[in-house]
Amino acid sequence: MKVLFAEDEKDLQEVVSEFLRFKGYHVTAVDNGAEALEKAKSDAFDAMVFDVMMPVMDGITAMKKIRETGDTTPAIFLTAKSEVEDRIEGLDAGADDYLTKPFSMEELSARLRALYRRKRDYTVRKVSYGNLELDMEQSELKAVNTISLANREMKLLQCLIGSAGEVMSAAALLQEVWPGENTNADACELYISFLRGKLKSVQANVVIEGDRTGGYLLKEI
């Protein structure tokens, strides 16, 4: 389980990271909200733990921005103040849970386990659009016919369905489907071509319009 941990107090960051690693988590620790936002964009995590008060960018702003990208990774806030407003703001920004400092690290670990259980149950397994049904568990695309999809084709189509009717740039798709990989729009264009062939093959009433320069648009015909 990969955890993104944002905390500006160095001592606390080290102790908590060490503890979580000891518990078997892969921890990526950062010092502020801006760094957390960068990491969340470039890598996929199973959970996020953010301090509220941090320099450069506070945890609540970072949380809001991360949620705006469509990222639904479960998140826990650590708040020094026990004020109600702080918790409300954190939860409204998109956090799933909070702990007030000082907190028990065992409790943090237990809350992460609970979030992870819930995430597993709620992970999207089927997405549909037009006459399309995308089964993420079976890697199967269905309209009139059924056909298998490669992992990248599946992620790509999921992104396009997620923003159907809106143009998505090749850069945005690269970031979603090839996170942290050194690749270019050619890869994106190739996988769009694969997807187009497969949409046609299952007789979808959905097409992908556009190209790498103007971006791609998924729409019903």
């Binding site: 079976q138 199967e140 009139v144 016919n145 056909i147 298998s148 694969f194 497969k198 093959s201 007789q203």
Partner: protein, 202 residues
Amino acid sequence: MEEANSVDIYAGVRPELERIMNRLAGEIGELAKNREGDKLYEHLAFRIKSDESAREKLIRKGFEVTTENALRELKDSIGLRVVCLFVDDVYECVRLIKTIPYVRVFKEKDYISEAKPNGYRSYHMILEVKEETEGKTGGPFYAEIQLRTIAMDTWAALEHELKYKKNIANQEMIVQELHRCANDLAACDVSMQTLRQIIKNL
């Protein structure tokens, strides 16, 4: 026509069937080429439906076992199979077969764009052969042509093996996995076709 029990179900018509089958196979072999003259298919197989399976199918479908019924009701006494490398080649072969002057497409079904529920994919055509057979022994004659890719052909061969097994343990699981294989193979066929197009345009 007299009952055909112990004798060959095709009786005296067999030589005529064989002649038509060979002519069709030769014709398709000549026609199915691209502009560069390369053949569009990987292999072409043909057969006259066996006496035994013609009788079995007639009984199963509730027809009297006669030569006439074997030729007219079954419509696959002559069978040809065209197996191609790529999906587009299958459709090109279909188009070319339709240009043969002495045949008429009696029926066709595109199980590639509309796969059977078990995952089976192929293009089926039943041709009515209009050549100088009318008024002779048993005309008009029909020929069934199945066209598909190598991947679809491999799948169909495996499914055929399963069909003749009785009382299979885990039948449901095997059928389900076979269906998944059909989807995987179709995915591969489509990806290869896409890449082929890209390579062509390089």
